[in-house]
């Protein structure tokens, strides 16, 4: 039990995927202007990241390892993620048009979200079993959503602030991310 707790705290707060490991920066900067969009993106990434974590672990354990073809990891994983995103998109489109409309534009972007591939590779590198892989993926996804929502909240307020013209948009967002990242460094004493 304690092990799982350490994985959760570690992934959400200490090694936050965006603020400490720099994965998934593109959506973090691109989709954090509006709070509603940030929540949608967070949900979509959570969904895909957990499924991808599960499937890549299964493929690594039951296909790549037994046949000793570990060097195909990168190709296999990116194909799994691409196919998964396509599949999820079709399923959601058929069974929940409302959700599809809400997530629609974010889903294709997730294939090239390095957070998904990154977490899938981290799961394998850390030698997790199936249970830990799922907990690790869920907590990293929650950490991503947390960072995205916090950022969106701050950026909505920045809209009405008087920022020097050259710093508007992405530059100021990066400076804000730096301050957030400093704050998250404080969590490193937790474990």
């Amino acid at each position: 039990m304690q092990e799982y707790f350490i994985i959760i705290i570690g992934a959400v707060l200490i090694n936050n995927i965006v603020l400490a490991q720099f994965l998934g920066i593109c959506p973090f900067l691109g989709v954090s202007k509006k709070l509603s969009a940030a929540i949608g993106m967070g949900a979509a990434v959570t969904f895909v990241l957990v499924l991808a974590g599960l499937f890549t672990w299964l493929v690594q354990t039951f296909v790549l390892n037994p046949f000793n073809i570990g060097y195909l990891q990168t190709i296999a994983f990116i194909l799994i993620i691409g196919a998964l995103v396509q599949f999820v998109e079709m399923v959601i489109k058929k069974y929940s048009p409302g959700l599809y409309k809400a997530l629609g534009i974010y889903l294709p972007l997730i294939t090239t979200n390095c957070a998904v591939l990154g977490v899938a590779i981290l799961n394998i590198q850390k030698d997790f079993d199936l249970g830990k892989t799922i907990v690790h993926s869920v907590s990293h996804a929650l950490g991503f959503t947390l960072a995205l929502i916090l950022m969106a909240g701050i950026r909505e307020r920045l809209e009405s602030e008087d920022i020097p013209k050259c710093m508007q948009g992405v530059p100021i967002a990066l400076v804000v991310a730096s301050l957030m990242s400093t704050a998250f460094l404080g969590f490193s004493g937790l474990i």
Partner: protein, 196 residues
């Protein structure tokens, strides 16, 4: 002349990192020392060169409707090669770059160049495009590395410039990456506004 243009546009006018703001993840993560920056830049350039050559050579054979998956497989193949080569020939660098070598697969610059350039041009211009973009990305990485290594560790390419106790360690921690990138982008915007 036009080939020279293809080469130079990637370095300044369309610099992938500073002007198009693509490929930000490795740029923030591995720019803690100039060595890492050069290594990442070289790996990235090699992959981009390979994928641009193959994709431009095969652009008439690849069916339009499945071109993106085909690009991804081609890019992933080159990334795997670079990954294995680096593991064999420079294990230290391999360790320092870690997870960001396989993640070159999802670097938006490479798939972006495949879609925007290699898909529409023949092999020779694509080579120059890849070299230009690669050099542009490498120079941008090295610039960020220089700021972070000098301020954060007090060294440049491992040579000590001032004592470690005077260095602001924050600059090589994650916050330093964000703030360096933000300030460089802001400064470039200012420069552009002045010239316009």
């Amino acid at each position: 002349m036009s080939l020279l243009n293809e080469f130079t546009k990637g370095i300044i006018k369309e610099n992938p990192l500073f002007r198009l703001v693509l490929g930000t993840c490795p740029a923030l993560a591995i720019t803690t020392s100039v060595d890492n920056g050069l290594g990442m830049g070289a790996a990235f350039t090699a992959v981009l060169l390979g994928s641009n050559i193959v994709i431009s050579a095969m652009r008439k054979i690849i069916p339009d409707s499945i071109r993106i998956p085909v690009y991804i497989v081609i890019i992933a193949a080159f990334v795997t090669m670079i990954d294995l080569l680096m593991h064999a020939f420079s294990p230290d660098l391999y360790k320092a770059l870690g997870i960001f070598i396989p993640l070159i697969v999802v670097n938006c610059i490479i798939i972006g160049r495949a879609e925007a350039f290699a898909n529409r041009n023949s092999v020779v211009p694509s080579i120059f495009d890849a070299l230009g973009m690669g050099v542009g990305f490498t120079l941008a990485l090295v610039l960020m590395c220089t700021f972070r290594e000098v301020l954060g560790a007090g060294t440049f390419l491992g040579v000590r410039l001032f004592p470690e106790t005077k260095a602001a360690i924050m600059m090589i921690l994650p916050p330093g990456g964000f703030v360096t990138f933000g300030c460089i982008l802001g400064f470039l915007n200012k420069l552009q506004a002045k010239n316009a």
